[in-house]
Symmetry: C2
Subunit: 141 residues, 2 copies
DNA sequence: TTGAAATTTGGACGATATCCAAAATTCTCC
DNA sequence: GGAGAATTTTGGATATCGTCCAAATTTCAA
C-alpha cells in the first residue's frame, strides 16, 4: 500500500476502523460482529487483512486495537466524513440527510479532495456529527 | 430493480452506459472494449447484464443501443456527474480536478442528493463538462 | 464461398464480503 | 485445577463484480 493509496479502504473496512476507533482498549471480535450484525468469522477475516495492512494490532483470541498508522487513518476517515457532510449542508441537506448520503460514497473520495474542501471552507472546527481536527493525515515514521 | 434503485449501477456500468450514450447508432462490442482497454468478452458479459436490466437493446453480433429507459438513465448519469463536478468547483476545484474526483465516487451518490444539490444551486444550466438538463430522471411508461 | 475479423461462450481468477460448521482457545465456576 | 461454557478462528462454500483467455460461433468481405 503506497503513500497515495493509504486511505483506499473498502467501505466495510472504513466502517470497521471507525468502529474500533470509537472503543477503548482492545476490541473483541464479537463486539464488532454484533455492532454490524454479521457473523464473527466475517470480522476475523477482515481484521486479519487490516492487521496485514498495518492498521490494526491483532492478538488472536484477545482482540484488536488501532496501530499508530490505524489511529491516524481513523482520524482521517472521521475528518473526511465530517468535511463531506458539512459540505452537503451548504446545499441545504439536513444533518441526518448529509450524514446518510456521505456514508454512501465517502470511501471513494481522495485525501486531496478533502484537503481542498477543507481549505475552501476555512478549516472548520465544527462538523455536524462532531468536531473536525486538522492534522495532515500523513503518516511519517 | 425498483424505482428507487434504478440508478444504482456499478461504476463500470455507469461508464459503459455513458460511453454508449455518446455514440450514434448501435455500438459494437469491440468499439466499447477498445474505449476501455478491456477484452471484448468482458463487454459482452456486461452488456448482457445491462440488457437484462432493460437499459440496452442488444442484438448479438450486431451491437447495442440504449433503450428508452437506458437513455433516461444516461441523462441522469450525465446530470449527476455535472452537478457534482459543478459543486466541487464551489470549493475551488479546477474543472479537471473536479471531473476526475467526481468520477471516483459519482456512482454512489443518490438521485435524491443530486436533486437537492441541483435545487440548492438554482437548477444550473451550465455544467463544467457540458450543459445540464432538468428532466426529473424518472421513467414512466 | 472461403478465409479473416468480430463476437460470444465457457471456464478461470482475484478481490470483497458474507455464511455455516467444526476445531481451537480462553474463560468461569465449582 | 479441571470441566463445561463461551468465544474465536479455520476451512469451505456462496455471491457479486470485473476481468482474462481459449475455443466456438457468426458475420463480413474479397
Amino acid at each position: 500500500m503506497s503513500m497515495d493509496t493509504v486511505f483506499e479502504l473498502s467501505p466495510k473496512k472504513v466502517e470497521y476502523i471507525k468502529f474500533i476507533n470509537g472503543k477503548n482498549g482492545p476490541v473483541k471480535t464479537n463486539n464488532i460482529a454484533a455492532g454490524f450484525g454479521v457473523d464473527p468469522s466475517t470480522i476475523t477475516k477482515t481484521i486479519v487483512e487490516l492487521a496485514d495492512e498495518g492498521l490494526l494490532v491483532y492478538v488472536p483470541y484477545h482482540g484488536v486495537s488501532l496501530s499508530v498508522k490505524g489511529k491516524i487513518t481513523a482520524e482521517f476517515l472521521i475528518k473526511r466524513h465530517r468535511i463531506l457532510a458539512l459540505a452537503l449542508t451548504h446545499f441545504g441537506f439536513s444533518h441526518e440527510q448529509a450524514c446518510l448520503e456521505v456514508s454512501r460514497f465517502e470511501s471513494f473520495v481522495s485525501k486531496e479532495a478533502i484537503d481542498q474542501m477543507c481549505r475552501a471552507m476555512g478549516h472548520p472546527n465544527k462538523g455536524i456529527c462532531g468536531d473536525i481536527t486538522h492534522d495532515d493525515g500523513c503518516l511519517r515514521i
